[in-house]
């Protein structure tokens, strides 16, 4: 079980005036069983990178391996359907892909494509819908009756119903209200901790990275410029400054304290821990 990129290039519209190199020389190993954040500015190749994981895009050069599958340049991987069953990819604004008359039918669509019988598929779909927090009384509603956030949950349920071992999410919280975004991230956290699903999240939200992710991959102009664990990433805020990413509030707060001569342990990354540290320092005075 592994995800491994080796010298992967991806070029859009090669040999035309519109030629664009979206990925360049990407070497990457994703640790299984973790939540990995993929961050970088718009146009840095994040979406291109994750679309390689289930063979939607093929490398222009180099190759990658996902579990037992090898995805090479210019050669469709064998049994691509099996690969897509194992790697669940949730697109940006996934709510636009709903098309069936009822929620349950739409979620059952995925498993049915992978040869599950109609009845079993609906059972699996019901379970997936409950997992994402949709109540059974709503199962027979039309997707058009739901709010944007709920629709997105249904779309995610549609992917979960295929019971993938790797879940890839392209900006899953974009356009959601803070509460909705938080519960969405909680959902991924639960899936990771309880079912051991490897989660990759493309995101711009550093608070989420700080709170939920284990590792961080930073892309810049199609190149992986950093792959490290979360603590290391937030310890060194030079990158964030360079890429003009707003640091999470807690990191910004600590930095301001440091400027006034109050230093905290770099392991302090939650509000609870920070409060404790502050209390300790006050007690000492």
């Amino acid at each position: 079980m592994s995800i491994h990129f080796e010298k992967v290039d991806h070029i859009y519209s090669p040999n035309t005036v519109f030629e664009f190199k979206a990925l360049e020389d990407v070497d990457l190993d994703i640790n299984m069983g973790k939540i990995t954040a993929i961050i970088g500015a718009t146009g840095s190749g994040k979406t291109t990178l994750v679309q390689h994981l289930n063979g939607l895009l093929l490398p222009s050069k180099g190759f990658l391996t996902v579990n037992d599958f090898t995805i090479k340049a210019d050669e469709k991987p064998k049994k691509i359907k099996d690969l897509r069953k194992q790697v669940g990819l949730v697109f940006q604004f996934a709510e636009y892909q709903l098309f069936e008359e009822t929620l349950i039918k739409d979620v059952a669509f995925g498993p049915k494509n992978f040869g599950v019988s109609e009845q079993d598929a609906e059972e699996i779909a019901a379970r997936a819908l409950v997992t994402v927090g949709i109540e059974p009384k709503d199962f027979n509603k039309s997707p058009l009756e739901l709010s944007g956030g709920q629709k997105r949950r249904v779309a995610i349920a549609g992917i979960l119903a295929m019971s993938p071992s790797i879940l890839v999410l392209d900006e899953p919280t974009a356009g959601l209200d803070p509460q909705g975004a938080k519960s969405m991230m909680e959902l991924f956290n639960t899936l990771n901790k309880e079912k051991g699903i490897t989660v990759l999240i493309v995101t711009h939200n550093m608070e989420h990275v700080l709170e939920y992710c284990d590792e961080v991959v930073v892309l810049e102009n199609g190149k992986v410029i950093m792959h490290t664990d979360k603590k290391e990433f937030f310890r060194n805020d030079q990158y964030m400054e360079k890429a003009s990413i707003d640091p999470p509030v807690i990191i910004a707060f600590k930095k301001m304290c440091e400027e006034h001569g109050v230093n905290f342990n770099s392991d302090v990354l939650t509000i609870d821990k920070l409060v404790n540290e502050i209390l300790k320092k006050r007690g000492r005075r």
Partner: protein, 265 residues
């Protein structure tokens, strides 16, 4: 899907690009009429020479025009085959068993090929050298006499330009949905008939839903900026007739009149 040469605008800076879109539309119509004046190879020769000069002036490459022509090749082979069996005039060129190939069939086919080639070159030149927006603006101007008959010419032009504007957006959207459904195990290429219908539905339904959504949003955005249907409005960009437009029109009208005279005399 991004390799469609037909109807694509090629941004260059040339004599033809700088012509008034109205001139180009009128020239296109006159030339298309001229093609159908039956004066044989002389006529096609005259139009052909004119188009080659125009093509050089437009700085478009010949291979680009060839690309637009390629999709029709299949049709031409088909036409030749039909003509061979149907047309039985002129001299017998070839006899295979009981089948005779007549010179009339060959000449007719060559006529059709030339006509089609000329038509494609003319229309490709128009769309490749004129921005879609300028094209609709020119069309609106040319239709403006009809406004006196209460034909909503501005609305028609606006609809055309909006439709053109949304072609790339819809293509992009379709590709995105296609990928999203592929991630859910949809296979557009193989599978039974029923599965294929289901696969196409999974593309069409979301595409329709998002198109209506986009249309709604666009209507709101236009209204928010003060767009009122049927209101009188002025233009930021004015079309100007220049000396080169004059020359072009004189040349095109010259060809048309010349061919008619050739036919009549």
């Amino acid at each position: 899907m991004n390799n469609i040469a037909l109807g694509k605008y090629i941004p260059l800076n040339s004599f033809v690009h700088k012509l008034d879109p109205r001139t180009k539309i009128i020239a296109m119509m006159f030339l298309l009429v001229a093609i159908f004046i039956p004066v044989g190879f002389t006529g096609y020769g005259i139009i052909g020479v004119f188009l080659i000069i125009a093509l050089i002036l437009s700085k478009l490459s010949f291979s680009f025009v060839w690309q637009s022509f390629k999709p029709t090749l299949f049709m031409l082979v088909f036409l030749l085959a039909i003509n061979m069996f149907i047309i039985k005039t002129g001299d017998i060129l070839l006899t295979i068993g009981t089948f005779n190939l007549y010179s009339g069939a060959v000449i007719q086919t060559v006529y059709i090929v030339l006509r089609l080639l000329l038509m494609i070159v003319i229309t490709t030149m128009l769309t490749a050298t004129t921005k879609p927006l300028d094209l609709t603006m020119g069309l609106e101007d040319l239709l403006s006499p009809l406004a006196k008959l209460n034909v909503p010419t501005h609305d028609i032009a606006m609809m055309i330009s909006l439709a053109l504007r949304f072609i790339p957006t819809l293509l992009e959207e379709a590709q995105r949905i296609l990928k999203a459904q592929a991630s859910r195990g949809v296979d557009m290429e193989s599978g039974s008939f029923k599965e294929k219908i289901q696969a196409i539905l999974s593309l069409i339904v979301p595409l329709f839903v998002s198109s209506f959504q986009k249309a709604d949003d666009l209507a709101d955005a236009m209204e928010a900026r003060g767009y009122v249907v049927g209101a009188k409005r002025v233009r930021y960009k004015q079309l100007k007739f220049t000396f080169s437009d004059f020359i072009t029109l004189v040349a095109v009208i010259g060809i048309l009149v010349g061919l008619i005279l050739l036919k009549v005399l």
